[in-house]
């Protein structure tokens, strides 16, 4: 094979010493992979651990973490804690959700919940439970959280103010129960817990802006749950905040009428929760006055809690009743201790107190002035049906003079017998009168009268009945005679040419003619009613038929 046979290719010389352009490919690959890695890294937020009591509804690799329903992370795994008391959900947050992992952030499992207040989380029925987030205010990063078992009543993005309420009876109130003002729902109960002493119930409520400023220093809260049924002179009234409060309960707040304007309440300020509107609106009892009333009569129906009234105004309650024995008179009596709030009388009390102070009188002396005019305490029945009693401070101008005794801060008010005992005495006197009625004598008289009537009837049988038989026989004879004469009369009338028949016919013809004339007259009057006044017009003869 010679070199001449084969042609020589056109040689192209390449520049050497330069790296081949193909290396751009791995460079691009590295850049692309790096970009992907960086992007993935940037999209991945911190990993956090949340402790829950139960993993109900949470699934590793599936359940999402949502803030305002925006996915901000995913549960990667669920594991038991070493002590097997709780579960720990490991959550991979996204980069956007990374800022949520701060101190104070709350996590809870959103599940479908059905309560009296409403239905929530219905969407999770289909999508499965997810972990809800409410972000805290702190910026301190935390990796471990303790999850809530229930969604918080209020999330941090809701503006408003929290207050604390204390009461002795929470009734049917429960977390999520609404808070009303003017019957409008403006908030809810966040939490209810029993105080450590087991007596008071503490509540935390949330009033959303802008209504939170309605809560002032003088605001009163009351339990608006259930039905308020009132039966009075205007009839039966059923009062309720809303149908929901009947079932779920609720709290209403407001201001007592005439209360001065006060600055808004502070966050977490503590208020008392009154059992109902009436208690809440009652005037605040500034100072109570301890009264003692000694009754020397049975005090049945009167017990602690019985009202003390003055002129129909409820001014206090009986605190307790102690039986006592007086050795000198060898009688029993009962001391009713009452707590009275004279300020409930309003201006009446202030003026009385002012007048007393002006005259240099002490409290008992002022009361003595009233007692001198006949003020006495008396037990009265307020309701005959239920047998309820109350203590009335009433006027007895003719009562025997008595004195107010002041001992150890307790004022002893003189009493007047009455009320239950008076009524019992009256009933007893009525019974004794009934007792005196001579029922036996009355019975004997009735017996005699019956016997007389019986003998009268026997006499009637023996004397009257035989005489009556003769009377009946004669009446029979008279009736047959009457029958004969009637038959003769019938024959006379029924004959065709009898005089009665002819006379009757003639009379009927005349009646017919008279009726015809009457009809003609009626026609004429129908056409000319004026003739009744003006007389008959000439030439207008009434036309007969």
């Amino acid at each position: 094979m010679s070199d001449e046979i084969f042609p020589i290719p056109h040689v192209q010389f390449r520049k050497r010493g330069r790296p081949s352009a193909v290396w751009i490919v791995p460079v691009i690959a590295i850049v692309a992979a790096g970009a992907l890695a960086v992007r993935t890294y940037l999209q991945t937020g911190p990993t956090i651990h949340i402790t829950f009591n139960t993993a109900d509804g949470i699934e590793g690799g599936k359940s999402e973490v949502r803030y305002k329903n925006v996915p901000v992370g995913k549960v990667t795994s669920v594991a038991l804690t070493p002590d097997r008391q709780h579960i720990v959900a490991t959550v991979q947050l996204t980069s956007g959700g990374g800022s949520l992992a701060t101190m104070g952030t709350q996590f809870w499992v959103e599940r479908p919940r059905i309560g009296v207040g409403g239905v929530s989380g219905l969407g999770t029925l289909l999508s499965g439970a997810f972990i809800g987030v409410d972000v805290g205010t702190s910026t301190e990063k935390v990796e471990s959280f303790v999850g809530l078992e229930k969604p918080p009543g209020v999330t941090s993005d809701q503006h408003g103010t929290r207050f604390k309420l204390t009461t002795t009876d929470a009734g049917s109130l429960a977390p999520q129960s609404p808070v009303y003002v003017q019957r409008q729902s403006v908030g809810s109960i966040l939490a209810i817990d029993l105080g450590a002493d087991g007596k008071a119930v503490n509540m935390e409520i949330f009033v959303s802006a802008p209504y939170d400023h309605l809560v002032t220093q003088s605001t009163v809260f009351w339990n608006a749950s259930g039905l308020d049924v009132t039966l009075d002179a205007s009839g039966l009234r059923v009062n309720t905040e809303s149908l929901a409060t009947v079932v779920a309960g609720g709290i209403e707040f407001g201001v007592r009428p005439g209360a001065p304007a006060t600055p808004p309440a502070l966050e977490n300020q503590r208020f008392h929760l009154f059992p109902d509107l009436r208690h809440a609106m009652a005037r605040p009892d500034a100072a109570s006055l301890a009264l003692e009333m000694r009754f020397d009569q049975p005090i049945r129906g009167t017990a602690a809690g019985v009202n003390v009234e003055f002129e129909g105004i409820h001014i206090g309650e009986v605190v307790d009743i102690t039986p006592d024995y007086d050795e000198t008179t060898q009688t029993f009596h009962f001391d009713a201790h009452a707590s009275v709030f004279p300020e409930r009388l309003g201006p009446a009390y202030t003026k009385l107190a002012a007048a007393g102070a002006r005259n240099g009188l002490t409290g008992p002396q002022t009361l003595q002035a009233l007692v001198d005019r006949g003020l006495r305490a008396q037990i009265k029945s307020s309701n005959i049906l239920t047998g309820a009693y109350y203590i009335d401070l009433a006027w007895f101008p003719n009562a025997k003079p008595a004195h107010v005794i002041a001992k150890e801060g307790v004022w002893v008010v003189p009493t007047e017998r009455g009320g239950s005992e008076q009524m019992q005495e009256r009933v007893a006197s009525i019974l004794s009168k009934i007792d005196r009625i001579p029922f036996e004598e009355i019975g004997g008289d009735v017996h005699d009268a019956t016997r007389a009537a019986s003998s009268l009837l026997g006499h009637f049988d023996s004397a009257v009945v035989p005489a009556m038989q003769g009377v009946f026989a004669r009446a029979d004879t008279a009736m047959s005679a009457l029958h004969d004469s009637l038959a003769a009369l019938r024959d006379n009338i029924a004959a065709p040419d009898s005089a009665i028949q002819q006379a009757t016919r003639a009379t009927l013809e005349q009646v017919e003619r008279a009726a015809f004339s009457l009809r003609t007259l009626a026609d004429y009057l129908g056409h000319h009613p004026e003739s009744l006044v003006r007389g008959r017009a000439s030439g207008s003869e009434p036309k007969g038929k």
């Binding site: 290719p9 490919v25 599936k62």
Partner: protein
């Protein structure tokens, strides 16, 4: 045995004209004007470049999400491996094996085998040239099938579009994965199997 290069001859791949070859021969065929080369141009460099790019992209292709499945009410995000595990746990073991072979084994084997070929030829190794040639053949044939995962995702994305109820979306791993497959094919096609014999025959 004598090679074409040893006789300083080369054949035009287009018109079969035998020309004189300088070493390394780079020139244009005097008859048809096409490039005439006794060896593939820049074969080792290009092969290495494509192979290293494929190896780099292999990492995101396997760590990133391949497919997002919205199957009401659940939502899944699968990488290649987690998808295989899911198929396996759902009882579709044969399908899982198929996907595992096509998407994990073949690209890995391709990268590894090409690396072996490139290293041995670079060292002018005389180790089992027949076996290495066979390996190269297998690489060329089997490499075509490793796009399976991309095809699956592309098909599902096109077919399963039922809004909220069922939806399949490709994840960010699709492009790196396709890149791995294409780059390994480019790398294997850039490789010149004659390099296996350049020293092995002597």
């Amino acid at each position: 045995m004598t090679r074409g290069v040893d006789l300083r001859l080369a054949a035009c791949e287009t018109c079969e004209l035998v020309v004189q070859a300088s070493d390394p021969l780079v020139g244009l065929c005097p008859r048809c004007g096409e490039p005439v080369r006794s060896r593939k141009h820049n074969a080792r460099t290009r092969s290495w470049a494509f192979l290293s790019a494929a190896a780099v992209l292999y990492v995101p292709a396997n760590t990133l999400v391949m497919m997002r499945t919205e199957q009401f009410p659940s939502h899944r995000e699968d990488t290649i491996l987690s998808g295989i595990a899911y198929l396996w746990s759902e009882g579709a073991s044969s399908l899982a094996l198929l996907v595992f072979t096509a998407s994990i084994v073949i690209p890995l084997v391709k990268i590894g085998a090409l690396g072996v070929l490139l290293v041995t030829t670079g060292q002018h190794s005389t180790w089992r040239p027949h076996g290495r040639t066979l390996l190269y053949r297998v690489l060329e044939v089997a490499g075509h099938w490793s796009m399976l995962d991309v095809f699956v995702v592309a098909l599902l994305t096109a077919v399963v579009q039922l809004g909220r109820f069922a939806n399949v979306e490709p994840g960010p791993a699709v492009l790196p994965f396709a890149g791995v497959v294409i780059l390994t094919m480019l790398a294997s096609s850039s490789f010149d199997p004659r390099a296996i014999w350049d020293r092995g025959a002597e």
